[in-house]
Symmetry: C2
Subunit: 335 residues, 2 copies
């Protein structure tokens, strides 16, 4: 067993609290969190009791990035402020994992890729790429269990109201980055569509702001054409009324059957037979951080290249462009 990777976290928000810190603690054999940085020392200090071992709190990010005893950096900051700090981390020569989206725009994402020091790893976190049921669905579809996919749909109505974790994060509804929740949340669903069905070549969409408090847009109907010839739709509202949750999961009509993909199961119907396969697995962020460690220590291939992360943003950006222009938009290709 190799030494645990000495990692520092930059960002101490709700996703650090709820996902990354629990995952890193669960992976103590692979990671030792050395330091936790935030813009204010107080917000970093507030998370320290989540660790079962001593961790330093700091607000000195340049100092952190200059330390020789830190091998990897985990950057998870609000979308509109992450890019410049991520750029510093990428230039430091340390291995970096950064939260999705790679950047608020394709142009910013491309610029970050140029900042990246060769020789170190950079993984862009996208936990939906490590959702065990989605990975299983992708394999099953590739194995032809429903033949050729021809139509795919996911409709999702998600409440966002005071008291909800992702509402009470003010930056998410500040209007400070293009697409608002449709970018912040939308990249996840785009990643799942791409993982399971392959690349999206062309999109058209309408988008509205259906509630004033979640600007700039929060409601979307988006059609996709995939390279495979399959077409699809992703419809989402981030900001449904309280209690008005609804999600179909990903449903796929294939030339030989029907697949329904949920977060923890895959159901396949062919003719008179329906099979439901429960898919368990560690929580997706933990699976992702385990893959990052395996990549650092063993050179294993991971699913979160910057090009993958950039492709998710490119699709969302194309959707927003289509909603603005009223025209179908060809998606720029990076992955």
């Amino acid at each position: 067993m190799s030494e645990p990777i000495r990692i520092a976290m930059i960002g101490a928000g709700v996703f650090a609290r709820d996902a990354h810190i629990p995952a890193l603690v669960a992976l103590q054999d692979r990671y030792q969190v050395v330091a936790l940085a935030s813009r204010t020392l107080e917000s970093a200090q507030a998370r320290l009791d989540l660790f079962p071992y001593p961790v330093e709190a700091t607000n000195d990010i340049p100092g952190l990035l200059a330390r020789d005893d830190i091998e990897a950096i985990n950057v998870l900051l609000p979308i509109h402020v992450q890019a410049p700090i991520l750029a510093q981390a990428l230039r430091s020569g340390k291995h970096v994992i950064s939260e999705k989206p790679i950047a608020p725009t394709v142009a910013d994402g491309k610029a970050l890729i140029e900042q990246h020091t060769s020789g170190s790893l950079w993984m862009v976190g996208e936990n939906f790429r490590y959702q065990a049921a989605f990975m299983r669905a992708a394999e099953m579809l590739a194995d032809g269990v429903i033949g050729r996919p021809v139509l795919a749909n996911w409709t999702m109505y998600s409440p966002l109201n005071p008291g909800d974790t992702y509402y009470d994060t003010p930056w998410r509804r500040s209007g400070d980055f293009p697409g608002g929740y449709l970018m912040d949340g939308g990249v996840h669903w785009v990643a799942a569509f791409r993982l399971i069905l392959g690349e999206i070549s062309r999109v058209n969409a309408f988008a509205t702001l259906s509630r004033d408090d979640v600007p700039p847009v929060n409601t979307l109907v988006a059609n996709f054409t995939f390279d495979s010839g399959c077409i699809g739709n992703y419809s989402a509202i981030f900001g449904a009324a309280p209690g008005a949750n609804y999600s179909t999961g990903l449903t796929i009509s294939g030339s030989e059957g029907l697949m329904q993909v949920g977060f923890d199961q895959v159901t396949v119907t062919r003719g008179d037979e329906t099979r439901t396969i429960k898919v368990s697995g560690v929580r997706n962020v933990q699976a992702e951080l385990a893959a990052f460690a395996d990549s650092i220590r063993n050179g294993a291939v991971h699913r979160g290249t910057p090009q993958q992360g950039l492709q998710d943003v490119a699709v969302v950006e194309a959707l927003l462009q289509s909603a603005d222009s009223g025209q179908s938009v060809d998606v720029e290709r990076f992955a």
Copy 2:
């Protein structure tokens, strides 16, 4: 009680057999079917034993339209041959009910409206406008049970295979009219969306032919913008694999709750409370024919004006245009 309306049917296909004849028989107090016409005498004769009283079979349509003892005509012919015969019926001065779509194209529908003799009624059949649960949903939505609708979705995968009623009708998959099943079937769903959510102002769509045997197109993802500001998506495949049925019903995210509309129930969720209302009613074609009779005898308003039927076709035609052009299309307005 007034005398039953003496009506003649032109068309003896599967929808006459399965829907119209049973409905007219159930409405014996309002209708007496005098004659049943078809292109061949044999196909008309083959349906006569479905009636509990004597009915004439004929293939002489001009002769039928000239008879003084017939008050109303029910035209239900294949899409690509209906228009010229419907035009004759409309010029006859008799009351006419004709099956959807009003015509294969908007231009043909407009031309038919010009043929219509004023003074007689013309109702365009669209049974989804008489689906009791849909009418109830429209009322509930107008009453504000979920506030302002902001996002609406209906995804529907429908198998069509040898042995299925609407597959074994060769004209439906002949490729002889624009849109194929997306027109023949699609107008129903468009009518339901319009009934419940109001007029559709703008659309964008992708469409493909995912199976060679159901030309010209059978698979659709279509985004809508409604006059109300609501946006929506209708995704459909006519020609899913055997057993691969899937339908979400119409789901609507509103500013105050969630509505889910099925063919026989409406479910409303607001906060912690979900109410499901079972909606029974006579079969939709029977309700429609009852409304036609009530309109003839009592001057009652019905839901099937030619302008309504034309509007459904205008939306489908706009979808097909958008799929061809890659641009959003403003829907021409008639209703």
